[in-house]
């Protein structure tokens, strides 16, 4: 017993020493990109904990923190997001001291207005799913196209018809769907930390209380879309039906249509039927959330 305790103590002190050494190394100047990669890759857990700690502190200071697993996961998710950006962009900052550069990057993110989409309901499983989906759609075209499926239950053909795309763009839509089904969806679920049990529960809720489920989803997706649509190009605002009509008939603004209509429920209602040359004459689309790809 005493031997085991001693072994644990030794192991802990060894870990502490390693950790200190890594932190010291991060505080030293690195001169090349390769050296940066090497030093940083050895310190990923330390940097992740550091970013998570900063995010927790930010949430506490802004009155958005609660001591529960949802908030812990939220802080971890954003810590990981900052670390990913640091890994890629930090290389171009050499020579630098990685630890200080990382701190400055996180501080810069937190100094922005609304650095992330926070809403208490978005921390519950349904909210996490929607937040993760829309956040991913901002950086991934696969997720963006898949958003049409998750919001309205459409397939690639429907998306092409609704957005009025031409042949070349259509091929790309099929590819986006395929990649999303193969890996994109799972990756997004992993990123937001949804467990199998939570996914199963979402499926149950959808089956048992379909209307309430969709109504909750619509309310939450509006919150998420309003936040993440800010990452669209500045020149992609909401349009009137006649303006959408001009865009569809004259065939310009392909990117505009794809990006904006996926991220705006209201504009989807406004522009409904314009891209299909009259083939989509049914009722305007309502949110019918699909959990699976």
């Amino acid at each position: 017993m005493a031997v085991t305790r001693m072994q644990n103590t030794l192991s802990k002190s060894h870990v502490m020493a390693d950790r200190m050494a890594t932190v010291n190394r991060l505080e030293e100047v690195v001169s090349t990109s390769d050296e940066f990669d090497q030093v940083v890759s050895q310190a990923l857990p330390i940097l992740l904990d550091r970013a998570t700690g900063y995010t927790k502190r930010f949430l506490r200071e802004t009155g958005q923190w609660s001591d529960d697993i949802e908030h812990e996961k939220f802080a971890l998710r954003w810590g990981s997001e900052y670390l990913e950006r640091f890994l890629v962009c930090g290389r171009s900052e050499v020579p630098c001291r990685p630890l200080f550069l990382f701190d400055s990057l996180v501080a810069k993110q937190h100094s922005r207005p609304e650095p992330f989409c926070y809403h208490p309901d978005l921390l519950r499983p349904l909210g996490r799913f929607l937040d993760g989906l829309v956040a991913r759609a901002v950086v991934s075209r696969d997720a963006l196209i898949a958003l049409y499926h998750h919001s309205y239950g459409w397939g690639a053909g429907d998306v092409i018809a609704v957005t009025g795309l031409n042949g070349l763009e259509s091929q790309r839509i099929y590819k986006n769907f395929r990649r999303w089904r193969e890996s994109g969806w799972q990756r997004t679920i992993d990123e937001v930390g949804l467990t199998k049990a939570e996914l199963a529960e979402l499926g149950n809720q959808q089956q048992r209380h379909r209307q309430r489920f969709n109504s909750d989803a619509e309310r939450l997706i509006r919150v998420a879309q309003a936040h993440y649509r800010k990452s669209e190009p500045d020149h992609y605002p909401c349009l009137s039906r006649s303006q959408w009509g001009d865009m569809f008939t004259q065939g310009y603004g392909c990117d505009y249509r794809i990006w904006h209509l996926a991220l705006c429920l209201d504009c989807m209602q406004t522009a409904w039927g314009l891209g299909s040359s009259g083939s989509l004459t049914g009722e305007k689309p309502r949110l019918e959330l699909q959990v699976r790809p």
Binding site: L44, S80, R85, K175, E232
Partner: protein, 408 residues
């Protein structure tokens, strides 16, 4: 699973994904370009030398390159002010990023260069060697082209021969067993091998030179790119200035035109009013003139009537008094003339009368002083209303007058 365990599992999962960061970008998939975490466009993944130029109103802070699935492929942190270039390797492809932050906004230039294929590399090497050879020999342009063409043909022929040898060699390798192959090796192939080795060494040297040349060329391309970005930003600012000036001129012209128009309208309306007033005045004058001419006519008629009446009266009077009407007329005329002639008389004043008093008296008489002769002062006045004798009596009654008489 407890919360701690769930959290640990989640943390491990995140760390694992950070460590691996798999990229499943297809060969022809576009690369999404983000500036300050906003999507600004994409680079065609299949295109050779696909470029993207972005001009931002705000400062550029970060640039991110992402695959279609959202994987962060590369990025760059922009300097607060000035240039920064970086080459991001994505598998074998390369994206040259060049960012320039100015006092007002920033510009980004991204150039996608796909990995060159074996044949394109070989062809480039040959072309490079040809260029060098041609460059060393100064000759007329036509001659240079001919030499280059001949050398290119020669190079293709050499490459063809080498390929043929390799293919033949492979065929030979495949058919007999290794033992037989060793046995059948003759001195001739050994010599060939030595030659090949020599050629390979030469090729390696050439390759190194080509790499150097490519490196310098890429540097040149980057510099050119920067210059292009600068030029395009200057041009854009110039165009915007021109546009602003043009709009300003149009606005001013419009304002001036509007003002001129307003003034013209005002003047026209004022002119119309004045014209109307003038017309009215002319009409009034015409009417007055007409009325006056009528009055003149009527007055003339009346005058004529009076004249005829006078003549009649004179005639009747002459019939009654004097049978000669001519004489009567003459008398009337002389009477009229007498009435018009000034009345002249002479006065002497009492002693001690001042000149002032004399002048005052003459002025009261409405008369004029004439000559002075032997103490007598000539005075001319309008014919008095009373007879001359009586008038003289009145004059003599004046305080300052001593004596008065008609004749000198």
């Amino acid at each position: 699973m407890g919360h701690e365990e769930e959290l640990d599992a989640y943390r491990s999962q995140l760390l694992e994904s950070l460590n691996s960061r798999p990229t499943i970008r297809g060969v022809s998939d576009p690369i999404q370009v983000y500036v300050n975490e906003r999507r600004v466009g994409e680079l065609e993944g299949a295109g050779i030398g696909a470029t993207l130029q972005v001009q931002c109103v705000d400062h550029i802070e970060t640039i991110q390159l992402r695959a279609e699935d959202g994987t962060l492929l590369g990025g760059l942190t922009a300097p607060e002010c000035g240039y920064r270039t970086d080459r991001v390797r994505i598998s074998a492809d390369t994206v040259e990023l060049s960012v320039h932050n100015m006092a007002q906004g920033g510009t980004l230039s991204a150039l996608f260069t796909p990995a060159p294929s074996f044949w394109s590399r070989a062809w480039k090497s040959i072309a490079d060697v040809t260029d060098r050879v041609v460059a060393r020999r100064p000759a007329p342009a036509y001659g240079m082209r001919m030499v280059a063409f001949t050398q290119a043909l020669l190079a293709i022929a050499v490459v063809g021969l080498v390929t043929d040898r390799i293919t033949t060699g492979r065929t030979l390798v495949r058919t007999p067993s290794p033992v037989v192959q060793t046995a059948t090796l003759s001195p001739a192939p050994v010599a060939d091998m030595a030659r090949f080795e020599q050629q390979l060494d030469e090729l390696a040297r050439m390759q190194a030179k080509v790499d150097d040349a490519l490196g310098s060329q890429q540097k040149g391309v980057v510099q050119l790119q920067q210059a292009m970005v600068k030029l395009s930003s200057t041009q854009e600012s110039f165009e915007s200035n021109v546009l602003t000036v043009r709009e300003e001129i149009e606005k001013r012209l419009e304002t001036v035109g509007r003002e001129t128009d307003r003034q013209t309208r005002q003047m026209a309306s004022r002119g119309r009013v004045e014209q109307e007033q003038l017309e009215a005045a002319i009409q009034n004058l015409t009417a007055d003139n007409h009325r006056l001419s009528k009055e003149v006519v009527s007055l003339e008629e009346y005058n004529q009537a009076l004249k005829s009446k006078l003549q009649t009266a004179v005639a009747s009077a002459s019939k009654a008094v004097d049978p000669s009407p001519e004489r009567l007329l003459k008398m009337a005329d002389s009477l009229q003339a007498t009435q018009q002639m000034p009345f002249l008389f002479w006065v002497t004043f009492s002693d001690g009368t001042s000149q002032e008093s004399i002048d005052k008296w003459v002025h009261e008489m409405q008369g004029h002083k004439g000559a002075v002769s032997e103490g007598w002062q000539e005075v001319r006045i309008l014919p008095p209303a009373v007879p001359a004798d009586r008038f003289l009596e009145q004059v003599r009654g004046e305080k300052i007058v001593k004596a008065a008489r008609i004749s000198q």
